[in-house]
Subunit: 241 residues, 2 copies
DNA sequence: CGTCTGATTGAACTGATTCAACGGATGTGG
DNA sequence: CCACATCCGTTGAATCAGTTCAATCAGACG
C-alpha cells in the first residue's frame, strides 16, 4: 500500500516513485464517501469527474423503465471509471455503491495533467479501459451463453482474481459483499434461482459463502466448472512497457 | 460519400477538408477484402493493425470450448476496431466477416500520426470507443434482462439506427444480412426460437424481413415494444466539439 | 443432379421463473 | 425496551419461456 492504496492501473505499467507521488497527489485532492446502496452517478447526469474507487465495492448498472435492473460491472478498489467520460454529454448508466465506498473525484483537467506528465500513466489508463471493454464482452458472453451455475461460478472466479490483483485476498478468501439480489441482477437470473444455485455450489464444495466472505477451496476446479479463461483480464499486458 | 465512404467517426466530431483527406490517405494505404464467413482476426492473435470497415458486415464474437458462440457486437461500414488494441498482447475475441467485407488495415504508427496531426480525429476516435463501450453494456442488458421478442426487436432497432447514421438506410428499409443462427448467437437464444420469435414479430407487423432486407414500418412502435432508448448511442455528442 | 446451408415445423422436455410464505437479523421510532 | 418495519435468505409448488431433438423443405451452387 503506497499512498492510499495500490491502484488497479499499476498493474498495467510500471511507475516511478515520482509517478506514484503524482498520482497520489491528484487522488488526495478530493476524496469522497458514499453510503452503502446510494448512487454515486446517475444515468442522465453530465459527467463531471473521473472517479477512482479507493475502498469498498460499487457497480455500474442500467435500469429499464419497468424496474428491471442489469448490473453491467462491479467496481472494486483501484478501479477507475472511464478516463474520458466527459467527452460524452450524458451518462448512459448509473454507478451505485454496494458497500460504503471511499472514492476520489478527479477533474478532467487533472487527468489531462497526469496524462501529459507521464506516458506511463497514460498507457496504464488506456490499458485499464481496454481491459474494462474486454470484461464487458465477457459479461455479455456470460449471460448469453452460460447456464446459471456457470454464470455464478464465473463471476466468483472473476471477482476473486481481480481482487487478488490488488492484494485484497487472503489465501482462498476474499470479501464478497453482494446480496443474492445483486448476484441476480448481475447474472440475469432471479434471486430465487441464485439462492438455489448457490446452495448447489456449496453442496459441491465449490465455494463457501458465509458472512459476506467468499472462500474458493480449489480455484482451479471452480474455473474448470465454468471454463474460466483468464485471458480476457489481460494480465500479460502488465508492467512490461 | 467523400472518399471511400462516410466514416462512422465523422459523426463524433466535425472534420475539415484537410482532415478528411488525411483520413482518406491513411485508409487507402492498405485496403483488404475478407470473404463471407471468414475470420478477419482470431482470438489469441497479436493485434497488428486497427481496422476500419469500409463495406459489408462483420461481428466480434467469443467462442467457448464446447462450441457455444456469443456474438458481442456487429461491425458495420464506418466502424473502427479499437484504436489501441495493440496495447494489449493478445486478442480476447475474434472478428469474423458476415458478408464480404472490405476493410482498411491501419498500422498503429499511422493512427498515431493521425491523432497527433488532428485533435478532432483523436476526439472522434475516443468518442467512438466510448460509444462502443456503451453499446456493449446495452448488449449485456439486452441478453440479461429482456425476453426473446424484446431482444430481437432491440437489436433490429439498434442496427437500423446505426445504419441510418451512416446513410445506409432507404426509407424504412436497410440491409440485414444476418442468418437466424447469427441472431441466435447475438441474443443468447437458439435459432429455433429466433425463428419463432421472428414469425411473431412479422405477424404483429412490427418488422418485414425478406431477402436479407429489413423493413420497419413504424420504428417508434418497434422501439416502444422493447423500450428502446437511443441515448446509449450518444448521438448528442455529435459534430459539436 | 446431389450437396449444403438456412428456414421452418412439431412435440416433448427442462431450466428458470413466478408467486407466496416464512424466519432471522437489523434497525427505528415511540 | 418493546413494537413494527424492512431487508435478506430460504423453501415449496405451479407454471412457462425457451430448449432440444428430429424431420422436412426451399434455394443456391458446383
Amino acid at each position: 500500500m503506497g499512498g492510499l492504496l495500490r491502484y488497479q492501473i499499476e498493474a498495467f505499467a510500471s511507475f516511478s516513485q515520482a509517478e506514484c507521488e503524482l498520482l497520489d497527489a491528484v487522488v488526495r485532492k478530493n476524496v469522497t464517501v458514499a453510503r452503502p446502496r446510494r448512487d454515486i452517478v446517475r444515468e442522465g447526469d453530465t459527467p463531471r469527474s473521473v472517479d477512482v474507487i479507493l475502498d469498498g465495492w460499487a457497480c455500474r448498472y442500467k435500469q429499464l423503465r419497468d424496474g428491471r435492473r442489469q448490473i453491467v460491472a462491479f467496481l472494486i478498489p483501484g478501479d477507475v471509471t472511464d478516463a474520458d467520460v466527459h467527452l460524452l454529454r450524458k451518462m448512459d448508466h448509473s454507478i451505485g455503491a454496494i458497500t460504503r465506498v471511499q472514492y476520489a473525484q478527479i477533474a478532467p483537467v487533472d487527468i489531462e495533467t497526469l496524462v501529459n506528465a507521464s506516458p506511463q500513466i497514460a498507457l496504464a489508463l488506456r490499458r485499464h479501459e481496454l481491459v474494462n471493454a474486454s470484461v464487458q464482452r465477457e459479461w455479455t458472453t456470460n449471460v448469453g451463453q452460460r447456464c446459471a451455475i456457470e454464470r455464478i461460478a464465473h463471476l466468483c472466479c472473476e471477482l476473486f482474481v481481480r481482487l487478488r490483483m490488488v492484494d485484497l485476498t487472503e489465501g482462498q478468501t476474499c470479501d464478497f459483499p453482494l446480496t443474492q439480489y445483486d448476484l441476480a441482477d448481475a447474472t440475469g437470473l432471479t434471486s430465487v434461482h441464485v439462492n438455489r444455485t448457490l446452495q448447489d455450489l456449496r453442496r459441491q464444495n465449490a465455494i463457501k459463502l458465509i458472512d459476506k466472505k467468499l472462500t474458493i477451496p480449489e480455484l482451479d476446479s471452480l474455473m474448470a466448472m465454468c471454463a474460466f479463461n483468464a485471458n480476457y483480464l489481460h494480465y500479460d499486458s502488465q508492467t512490461g512497457s
